[in-house]
Symmetry: none
Subunit: 210 residues, 4 copies
Amino acid sequence: MRPENEPGGRRRSFIEEARRRQIIAAAVEVISEVGYASASLARIAKRAGISKGVISYHFDGKDELMAELVVQLYVSGAEFMAPLVEAAEGWRAKFLTYLESNLQFIDANRTYVAALTEVVLNLRKPDGTPRFTSVDGEEPVIAPLIELLREGQADGTFGDFDPVVMAKIVRDTIDGAAGRAIREPDWDVGRYTDEVCRLFDLATRKGSAR
Amino acid sequence: MRPENEPGGRRRSFIEEARRRQIIAAAVEVISEVGYASASLARIAKRAGISKGVISYHFDGKDELMAELVVQLYVSGAEFMAPLVEAAEGWRAKFLTYLESNLQFIDANRTYVAALTEVVLNLRKPDGTPRFTSVDGEEPVIAPLIELLREGQADGTFGDFDPVVMAKIVRDTIDGAAGRAIREPDWDVGRYTDEVCRLFDLATRKGSAR
Amino acid sequence: MRPENEPGGRRRSFIEEARRRQIIAAAVEVISEVGYASASLARIAKRAGISKGVISYHFDGKDELMAELVVQLYVSGAEFMAPLVEAAEGWRAKFLTYLESNLQFIDANRTYVAALTEVVLNLRKPDGTPRFTSVDGEEPVIAPLIELLREGQADGTFGDFDPVVMAKIVRDTIDGAAGRAIREPDWDVGRYTDEVCRLFDLATRKGSAR
Amino acid sequence: MRPENEPGGRRRSFIEEARRRQIIAAAVEVISEVGYASASLARIAKRAGISKGVISYHFDGKDELMAELVVQLYVSGAEFMAPLVEAAEGWRAKFLTYLESNLQFIDANRTYVAALTEVVLNLRKPDGTPRFTSVDGEEPVIAPLIELLREGQADGTFGDFDPVVMAKIVRDTIDGAAGRAIREPDWDVGRYTDEVCRLFDLATRKGSAR
DNA sequence: GATGAATGAGAGTTCATTCAT
DNA sequence: CATGAATGAACTCTCATTCAT
């Protein structure tokens, strides 16, 4: 019926993509205002100023809309962070840049992040299992970070710690910060970032007693 | 209609309390299986092996059930942690015991914690604002931790850092760990706890370069 | 199970009757406050300060309770009016006393009348047909009035009109007054009664042009 | 969501209006058959041959449907009576035409009037107070009649009586007649109207002894 | 006699989805 | 492409009634 980009379908037209982004933007606003459970298609359509049917036309269903919302923001985040991390010289600098840029991105996209969090935590597959928060699903997200830590250890930059555990702690800290960004409008990201960087800097230093 | 304990109502009977706990337990199971959004009263009643109306009889509504679930587990956690933290000697030991006991509690109550997390993140007041995750609402939760850090700084145990920011990072780390506990059945809490304790021990030490 | 007075059952004990009156009184209060539709057994029991089951014990069901409420007030009204009407001398005086005493009774029992009205208009048999407001059901209520008017015509007191139609108009006027009594707390019954009596006095006079 | 006519919303489409009328008609039928209390949306939808959700789609809720039912019939009645009353010459003729046309309208719309009566007497606001039968709410209904009587008195057509009380008696008589129209299929409106007109004609005549 | 607990049906409402226009 | 209309299932909640204690 509808042109698809993935998988193997015809390329989506420009106008088609614009509509999808418009709808996703409306969904983000609605979710961050009334929460995932109350974010009905009717409300999203109203917010976007379009008819309910349009959403069904452009997305295979509510779930696809929500999944797209997540993917889109995730990609945006990666596109923002990757060049910064790569530009940093040395594993320590890369590590701290990873932390810093991630927190900055969250700060700059609070509403989007709020919506993303709600969706990630709530969206489920038809069989009831989580769509995004599965163990396997996490791997691609933290794999680059683990690799970064391993490289730094191999080259003697970092001390002796379990890179997998450390990566998970980092991610949890960042994800927790995302929640805080949503709930606290006055949250001072700069100070928080400084403290977090200092903390993980100390924890990954060579020569730290185990 | 129904006897109430809080506030000012008659005391609830033993059997009444048992039923409430049974219903809450069923809610916990259902939520951790299908998620908050799909945890309908019908499903919860079915799981508990009772009729739908029973829930309405024992609780003022779905929201009260969910709120009770949160309060109950939160109180359980506090009851578990408080004596351990108090028994520890010295602020550093208290701090590390706080971290350790909290993670242990999460580990020992994974299903409950999973459900609690879903409820806390999703439950809203009738006006649409979050029921539990407001800024003000957080204060009572981290206030004791902030106090603990301040005391340790005053007495020279801890170094120079912002106790409020540090407390928030600690809480985010722990809450993140809760999410992990839910998603990863094989999660090794012991190792994770060691790493977290080492990390925050370093970060709060006196003499850490700022 | 339960002792019955009607039909043919054992006589109800004094305490039994007291309970029934207490429950009916509570029902009257509740109905006149929240209306028939919202007058649940739970609310009535709460108002009476008893448990819900008590009502089921003393009445065969909600419908019997409501029916009893109607009958009880109707009998009270008849007991109040009958001696007054009989004491009046002459058909004209009897007729005006009927009007006057009926309106007085309504005035003195506004809450009861309000409840009765709601019940009469709403209570239905299981098949959906009205329990009280059927054509046949009305006959016993206005039959004495028709008879009174006929006697007065035969004896030359009243003029020439259809006694059945006149009786119906009288009843409608009184029933309408009942509604008014409920809705208007400041309603001046004395003045209303005077005007109504004057009106029907003129309308039933001998020699009125047809 | 749905186009609205009142207040300030977009104009309702023709088809929209037709659906609303169809649903109201079904509600009227159901109410006059099983009564207000048993007139559930399910039954009304079934009678209209539509799905339950359609009612919610076209009306803001059950209460709005019921309120619309009342308003619609009330407006119809006013539209029927007004030109007839205005066309009558002289206050006496206007007064009798008011009575006559009102009773005729009731006669011609028995089922509708039956439903209207049930709704007016039962519909309540969320706080429990009656929606239509309040004292203030009555004013607009009888105000024109009071005015008519006052004009007739000023111009010497009518005798000396309290026009407010008289108007109330007239309304109660008519409303009572409505109830009768519902319950008595064989009710002879012509005869009833004659008798009522004769009665009120006599009661309002100049020179009637007070 | 009286109670609290439980039932199960049915209430109004919301919602994702489908479809003719 | 877009819309408004309609569906039917699922939701929370209320209720009259029953029953063991």
